[in-house]
């Protein structure tokens, strides 16, 4: 019981981090910073794919929203199918991480933000032709002006955080 206040603080911190976020799974293990380089590697593969499959193309996104091409539907659809099967396999065989930890999943609770925020995000996606991931890759291919878009997206995130309590959820 002695470390109860510390625990509750930790719990509270985790809850803040979990608010309006999908990626909240975390490791209990303490690792050196360079353990994170493996995520850089996954990002690298991901970024190359984004460019090579033209996912970061503004034109491809416009085609998708005009139903003029199957390309993006094929990519997102097949990615979801592969993701679903993988998650099912991980759960079915209780696969552990490479560090021997259990893999956990958190259920997402519904709130109206998913509707309002989703619609606003969609409007932005139709304009920029890029969701957050492709923004980074677009800067990588040398479109430096996308830095402005990225900074604006960070500003949008900040403004949301600032006015979060005043918004309907």
């Amino acid at each position: 019981m002695q470390n109860w206040p510390a625990n509750s603080m930790l719990q509270n911190e985790h809850e803040i981090r979990a608010t309006d976020a999908i990626c909240i799974n975390e490791s209990e293990k303490q690792h050196q910073w360079y353990y994170n380089l493996k995520y850089l590697l996954v990002g690298l593969v991901f970024g190359i794919l984004f460019v090579k499959a033209e996912v970061i193309s503004w034109f491809r996104i416009q085609e998708m929203f005009r139903l003029q091409s199957f390309h993006m539907y094929g990519i997102i659809g097949s990615a979801v199918v592969v993701g679903m099967v993988s998650v099912w396999l991980i759960k079915r065989f209780q696969i552990k991480t490479i560090h021997g930890e259990r893999i956990t999943f958190t259920d997402k609770k519904f709130n109206k933000g998913q509707i309002y925020g989703g619609l606003l995000f969609g409007l932005g996606w139709g304009l920029t032709g890029a969701c957050p991931g492709p923004l980074f890759a677009q800067i990588g291919i040398g479109a430096t002006v996308v830095l402005v878009t990225l900074l604006s997206a960070i500003a949008g995130t900040w403004v949301y955080g600032r006015f979060r309590e005043n918004l309907p959820h």
Binding site: C23, G74, M84, G133, G140
Partner: protein, 187 residues
């Protein structure tokens, strides 16, 4: 072999590999796939203010920053070492439509006629880059995730709120691309 790599990759190659990111991140360290959270971590790092939404230990989420840095370098590598030859493939109907708005350059993945430093202070450029970026950042956090977190990770784990969010993303995009964007491009 190298010639094949240099061609644009078809959806049935790219999609499944993108899907494999989900188990890769889980198996590497119990991490859920999500990209827009990185924007939040930047706020938490640089400008948390007195906002509880940004007051958390961002060091625990550092992996996410490494991941997006990787995406950036992936872009650098792809364009320098195996860039797609020739202009981007664009649907003929879309080319015709975009011509009306003065978008005639299809050499880049981005419409350089509208999205460039020179165009930043024109109405269409400003709305597309600054306005669009703001909506993406604001909307993604309001919805609790973006295409990666909701559409790919959320649907993979069968979360119905993620399906709601994904449907709303698509509705927003359809409305923008078909009914609002044409007006903006004519400004």
């Amino acid at each position: 072999m190298f010639e094949i790599i240099k061609q644009p990759w078809p959806w049935y190659v790219a999609g499944p590999v993108i899907g494999l990111t989900v188990p890769a991140l889980l198996i590497l360290g119990n991490k859920s796939f999500g990209i827009s959270s990185s924007l939040r971590h930047v706020c938490a790092m640089c400008l948390p203010g007195n906002i509880s939404f940004f007051k958390y230990d961002w060091k625990k989420e550092l992996w996410n920053m490494f991941f997006v840095l990787g995406i950036f370098f992936g872009g650098v590598i792809a364009v320098n070492f195996f860039a797609n030859p020739g202009p981007v493939q664009v649907n003929q109907e879309l080319i015709r439509e975009l011509h009306q708005y003065g978008i005639t350059d299809f050499s880049s993945l981005l419409p350089v006629d509208m999205v460039s430093w020179e165009k930043l202070l024109t109405w269409p450029g400003f709305i597309m880059m600054v306005g669009g970026g703001f909506l993406v950042g604001f909307g993604a956090r309001y919805a609790g995730g973006c295409t990666s977190g909701h559409a790919i990770m959320g649907l993979s784990t069968l979360q119905w709120p993620s399906l709601v969010a994904t449907v709303c993303f698509m509705i927003g995009g359809f409305v923008m691309a078909n009914w609002i964007l044409p007006w903006i491009l004519m400004l």
